[in-house]
Symmetry: C2
């Protein structure tokens, strides 16, 4: 069978399975999730063996150590996968909820019902635990899932899929509710992103080149973000102790995450007081600082920042620093160079905080907190399938609710339109 | 200036204007709306003159009478435009509302703020009143608008735009909050739908060929529907009087609207009782009936329906009719042939009604009511910018709230991620 036919069949089966999982009750879905967790726990040996095959191949292909690290399953990672599924089982099921029911002058009652989106395709690289996480989130939200992991993790992903299928079977659900693309042929992704009739949304998780390619080529809506150029603005009404703690944490707590601060903006009025102690912390932690002229006059250790720096998501030990006149100049900078991901202000001035929250057009806006909090678990979503910087549908961390949509329900007693 | 440069400049100005209108307060936006209405009311003569130029050209080009009808401004249509803007001014402003604020274990408080989408481009044909409606909805929801009407209405649209600009000016808002594309060059649409940096969402309103073209070519998300193949299913537990009234209204109250029923499904158990009286009503009203074999045995006047009929949105005096075994067969038919727009069940059985509402995957699902109710005004939205059959973001009639999105807001007191 050629790849096009294979992927087309997967899509057709997913569409049929979507109708079944959409109407499954909460108890059935939770049973499937718990049985998946049990299957993963008792298949530790098989999972490690499958993963060993992937790792052997990865080393042969000389994949870089970061990639091999992400690819590696350990007994701890396996236990975390099983735990994650049990946690998803414990989350509230939003499917079927009816809200905002109102009686209209015509006599009909109109409301909104939360329903699954339908078929969700998740395209990811490296981490095999995404297979279990994504399967769990889709099942709980009543969606059928098509999972396409990177070729480097194919044996691990198929072994995890076997556990997922075991869970679905015990709960009386069709295995086709969660399908893993079994071929490593790269053409499969190209086929998947054009299955407009069979796939409702694509969630890409991976490197920028993958996301950028999908943005160019996909004919199906995506829940995604490309860049995470996150800012912290230290206002001249900031509590400087808080400011230093937050700016330190936002950059250095983890360097490679999308919600890590990449540019620090400091109000002129406090720059001379806050930049020297902050620079000391950063330089001690090995962070390279790149500043504008004014910042460099205060901290001569800074290298000069170029125009390109303000646009750059370093995902590493570099921070760009700019001194700005005031809140307006800070917000102008963010509007010009930001990626609408996560931006924070540090200030004790309530009116300025309100303006920042209202006017900065990012998926998460924060007052007096580290940008690192932009995360599904920290926000209380229980789990996240990804982070979106798009304006439509779900923005920011996307959990179970982001995998659902609202349709209109109308209750009549024989009403007709006049 | 070439079209590409012109449209690019429009986009750049819209992006800048979006930041201004996004932060405008409710009173300012309402003032602009009321002043637009006043300008339209006092410009009746200019509007009729501009429209006369369009109509003269349309007759010269021998546009069909339906198109000329939609293009025509009358004193009544002009008064309705002004009224529409006043009604939008009276609607609640959702922008800036914060909901679901919860304290998290880390100490941060997390909630969601309703915010404008940014820049909305509306591409439409013929009806000049869309210019005023769309401008009003975008201003109220805090969005900048780019309006591209059909070339046949260019003089009318520019005259209405002058009134919109007068209203914006009086309220102290930049005219670039609402821009009408001033060229009738068809290449402008092609440019507009690729302005990914400047336009956040496109709302196409017009014929199927326009929508289908935009679906193929747009690189920007759309709020749209292509087909409206709406069904009414008469269950064997239906109140047959209600069923006849609803099925009559759903088809015949207006023939050319997207929420008009195109296919009637009737349960076998009541077909012999409900189809003859219904057929009499339809045939008296000049509706051509196309049935499956079973329906034709009951009503011999029906022509045979082909497979193609079940997929067809007639938008005219034709109805396809099928006898089905039960609710499941009805829902299978809708899943196979429907367009996920609006579907209704007539039944007195609560469990079956619940199943229909839950399992039929359409933007509006109804019990014991005419599909013709799927409309922004009937649902209480005040006005609608369009109807969406997409799964993400807004489904069904889209009003002011559908032109907004939710971003995350985080209130901290110095919290950092551990």
């Amino acid at each position: 069978m050629d790849v096009g036919t294979y992927v087309h069949n997967v899509g057709r089966q997913a569409r049929a399975a979507a109708r079944v999982i959409a109407k499954a009750d909460t108890a059935t879905k939770n049973r499937a999730l718990k049985e998946m967790a049990a299957a993963i726990a008792r298949s530790r040996k098989e999972l490690l063996e499958a993963n060993a095959r992937d790792l052997q191949e990865a080393r042969k292909q000389q994949l870089d150590s970061a990639m091999i690290d992400r690819l590696t399953l350990t007994p701890k990672v396996i236990a975390a996968m099983a735990d994650g599924l049990k946690q998803i089982a414990a989350l509230r099921d939003p499917v079927g909820e009816i809200t905002e029911l109102r009686k209209r002058p015509s006599g009909i009652r109109v409301g909104k019902m939360r329903v699954p989106i339908g078929v969700v395709a998740i395209i990811y690289e490296s981490r095999p635990n995404v297979t279990a996480d994504a399967a769990g989130l889709c099942v709980k939200s009543g969606n059928a899932a098509i999972l396409r992991g990177g070729s480097e993790g194919i044996h691990s992903n198929l072994a995890i899929a076997a556990c997922v299928h075991a869970g679905l079977r015990v709960a009386g659900l069709p295995e086709s509710v969660v399908q893993v693309i079994e071929t490593t042929d790269r053409a499969a992704v190209g086929e998947l992103i054009t299955l407009q009739d069979a796939v409702d949304v694509i969630v890409p998780r991976g490197g920028k080149s993958l996301i950028a390619r999908l943005m160019r080529e996909s004919r199906i809506p995506m829940i995604k973000h490309l860049h995470g150029v996150c800012h912290t603005y230290i206002d001249d009404k900031a509590d400087l102790k808080k400011a230093i703690r937050i700016a330190d944490n936002a950059k250095t707590q983890r360097l490679g995450t999308c919600n890590t601060m990449e540019t620090l903006l400091v109000a002129r009025g406090v720059a001379a007081r806050v930049l020297p102690p902050l620079a000391r912390i950063y330089l001690e932690k090995g962070i390279e600082l790149r500043g504008d002229g004014e910042a460099r006059r205060i901290v001569p250790e800074m290298k000069p920042a170029t125009e390109e720096d303000w646009y750059t998501e370093y995902l590493g030990p570099i921070l760009s620093v700019r001194v700005v006149k005031d809140l307006d100049e800070a917000m102008d900078h963010i509007a010009t160079y930001g990626s609408q991901h996560t931006d924070a202000i540090v200030t004790e001035d309530k009116a300025r905080a309100r303006r920042f929250l209202r006017e900065v057009d990012s998926s998460s806006v924060m007052v007096n907190a580290s940008t690192r909090f932009a995360d599904g678990y920290e926000y209380g979503l229980g789990a996240e399938v990804g982070i979106s910087t798009d304006k439509l549908h779900a923005r920011g961390p996307v959990g179970i609710e982001g995998l659902t949509s609202l349709k209109w329900v109308v209750y009549g007693t024989g009403q007709i339109r006049k």
